[in-house]
Symmetry: C2
Subunit: 436 residues, 2 copies
Amino acid sequence: MTTTKWWIDGGIFLTMDDDRPLVEGHLVAEGNRIVYLDEAHPGALAEGAERIAGSGLLFMPGLVNTHGHAAMTLLRGYADDMALQAWLRDKIWPMEARFAAEDVRAGAQLAVVEMLKSGTTAFVDMYDHMDEVARVVEQAGLRAVLARGVIGLCSEAEQRAKFEDAVRFARDWHGKADGRIRVMMAPHAPYTCPPAFIGRFVQAAHDLDLPIHTHMSETAAEVEQNVREYGARPVEHLDRLGVFSRPALVAHAVHLTDDEIALLAERGVAVSHNPASNLKLASGVARVPEMLRAGVTVSLGTDGAASNNNLDIFDEIRLAALIHKGVSGDPTAVPAREALKLGTVYGARAIRQADEIGMLKPGMRADIIAIDIDQPQYFPRTDLVSHLVYAGSGRDVKHVWVDGVQVVRDRVCTRLDEERIRAEAAARFERLKAKT
Amino acid sequence: MTTTKWWIDGGIFLTMDDDRPLVEGHLVAEGNRIVYLDEAHPGALAEGAERIAGSGLLFMPGLVNTHGHAAMTLLRGYADDMALQAWLRDKIWPMEARFAAEDVRAGAQLAVVEMLKSGTTAFVDMYDHMDEVARVVEQAGLRAVLARGVIGLCSEAEQRAKFEDAVRFARDWHGKADGRIRVMMAPHAPYTCPPAFIGRFVQAAHDLDLPIHTHMSETAAEVEQNVREYGARPVEHLDRLGVFSRPALVAHAVHLTDDEIALLAERGVAVSHNPASNLKLASGVARVPEMLRAGVTVSLGTDGAASNNNLDIFDEIRLAALIHKGVSGDPTAVPAREALKLGTVYGARAIRQADEIGMLKPGMRADIIAIDIDQPQYFPRTDLVSHLVYAGSGRDVKHVWVDGVQVVRDRVCTRLDEERIRAEAAARFERLKAKT
C-alpha cells in the first residue's frame, strides 16, 4: 500500500475527545494516521493531498461493536419471538450444526457489508470457522478482534481439538492484515464450559499474551445454575478461574449484584452491553448506570443478527440512551454524550485499543465515518450529539475510512461486491434450510 | 386533480390484511383508491396506467403516527436528559411561549418532511396555531387528524377564547384537503384542564360529532395528583366527565390498573403508545401486552421531537417489539407482526379510518409506501415482517403515495422544497433562541 494523503476540507468534527469535543475545520490524514485536525486551514500540509469536501457532513470516529457472531446474519429472521431455550434448541442450534465454512464466509461477508455501511469500523467476533471471518476482514479493510468461540460440553478429545484450533487460529491471525486483526481466547460461557476447560484457555491467554472474551450473566437462570453447580455466581466463579487475571471483555453482564459490579471495576473487566439482544430475548436490562458510576468500561455490542436483528451500532446507542432512563425512572441516566462514548471511546477501551482508535486526534489511526447531516432529523442544528444519539441511524453514514483507506464511498463498499454478497447469503440460507 | 391510474408491476406487497398477508404480484390504483391487487397480471386494467417497476421493493400501507406535536421539531435537541419538570419549566415552556404562527409553520413543515420520508402517511397533531399545520398538510399531500390542544390553567376569558378557537378550527378544517384533514377536540390533559373545561369540550365534540384526543396517565405523579384532587384515577375521572362517550384517543396511558385497562376496552378507547418518549422522559413502560390482550386498540405515536427526538414510526415499532419483551421477561410479548400492526392497521383504527387506510386491499385508499429491500439488513429473505420490525428504518422508504398521489419519489418530497424548509427551521430556531 502506497502512503496516501487526504484532506477533509471544511467539515464538522465530533472528536469524542473531551479536551476538544467539536472542531469546525480541517483534517489531514497521511498513511493510516490523522496528522492534523484544526479550525485553521492546513496550509502547506494540504499540498498534494486528495481533497474531500466536508460540507454538510459530520465526521466522527468509526463505531466499535464489541460483541457479535457475524456469521449469524445467515439466520436473521429465521426464528423470532420465541422462548430462549426453544429458540436455541429447536431453531438456532440445529441450523448452526449444519454450518460449513462457506456458510460462515457468506454470513460474515453480509455482516461486514452491513457493519461498514452503518459506520462500524472495528468489531469483535466469536464463532467457529474463524479463518473465514479473518479472510473477510482482511479483504473488506475493517478492524476486528476475532476469537474461536468454544463450547466445552463434549468429550475430552473434542475439547482438545477445539482448544488446539483456538490456539492455532491465534498464532495464524493475531496482528495480521496490517495489524487490523487481533485475537482473543474465548471460552463461550461459564455454563457451557467446565471449569478445567476454562482454565486451559486462561493459561493459553497468558502464554500467548491475549485477552479473554466470554458471555457472562446474560440470563437469571444461568446465574442460578452457576450457583447450584459451582457454589458461586458467575463473576466470582470466573475470577477464581483466573479469567480476570487477563484483560477481559464479558458480553451481556445483565444480572449483577453491587459486589459483582465492584469486582469488575477492580479487575478492569470491560463489559459489552447488548441492549437490543437482551430485550429481544427477554434476558432483562443490564445495570449500565451503576456500572458506569463504579468505573466499569461499558461498551456496546449487537450480538448476532439472529437475536437483534441488525448490526447497526447507532440503534444500540439510542437504546442505551433510552432504556436505562425508562427502567430506572431517572431521565438523566446515560445522557446522550455518554451513550455516544459507549459506541466509540469506551468501545476502543474495551478492546484495548484506546490509544489508537475511538477518537479523532492527531496521532490516532484514521478510522473515520462521515454522516450526512443535511437531512430533516439533524435540524435545527441545536446539538449534534443529541441528534446522532436520539435521531441518527447507520443509514446516514456516507463515507467510511479505516486505517486511512476509504472502504465506503457514497454509501457503497469500495472493496466488496455487495450484490454478489447478498445473493450468496440468500443462496447459502436456502441451502441450509433445504437440509432440514 | 385529474384521475390518474398507475400500476406497480411485479412487487412484494405486505398487505397487513390477515386474510392475505403477502402478495407477490401487481397493484393498480385509480384516482385515490386501490382497484386491483393480485398475483396475476392485471391485463387490460394496466392499459394506460403509469408503470412503476416493483422489483427490489416491498410495498406496504403508509404508517400512522397517532400522537405528536409537529411544531416541536423546532426544539429537537434543545434540551435533553433532564428531569421532566425542570425540562418543561426551564426549557420547553419558555421557548413555546415565544412561538409565533411562523414558528409553528416552520416546525410543522420540517416534521412533515421527516414523517413523509420515513413512511408516515397519516398523523395526529395537537398544538396551537393549528391553521398553520393544516395549511402545511394541505400542501404536502399527507393525511392528518388535527386538534387545537388547550390547557385550561388560565382565566375564564382565556379559557373561552381557547375553546372558541378550537371550535372555529374544527369548523374551518374538518373534512378539508379532499378529506385528508379531520379534526378532534383536544383538552390537553386531566391535570392541565379543570373538569368543567373538559366538560365543554365533551359537549362540543358531541355537537360537532368529533372524536376527543387527550394526554392521559403519562407519569405516576400525575395519576397521584388526579387522585388527590378529584378522588379518582384519570381513567375513571375522564369517564365520569363523559370523555369516553365520544370516540376517544388517549396518548401515553403508561400507568394503568387492570380495571382501567378493562374500562378502556369496554368504552372502545384507543391508546397511542409512545415508547421512545416514555423512555426518554423516564415516565415508565406502558402495559401494552395487557392492553392488547384486553382488546384495547393500541397504536403508536412519536410524541413531539423534543422528547423523542425523531418522528420515524419504524423506531417506535421496533421499540414496541423489544421493550415489552425485556421488561416483562416474556420473549413472545408483542411479536413482530403485532408490532407492525400497531403502526398500520391499529393506527388506522385509532383514528377511526380503518375502513379507508392501514391495509393494502382493493377499495381502500392508495396510501402506500415502498421500501428498498435490496440492502444487507433485508437478507436472507427469511421473513420480511421480522426484517422490517427488527432491522428496518424509515430511511429505507423510497416512494410514498397518499390518496393516490406520489408525494415522495426516490427519497425526495415531490410537493415540498426540502432545502428551504430545513433552512427556515434553522433560522426560526436561531431567532427564538436569540429572544431569551
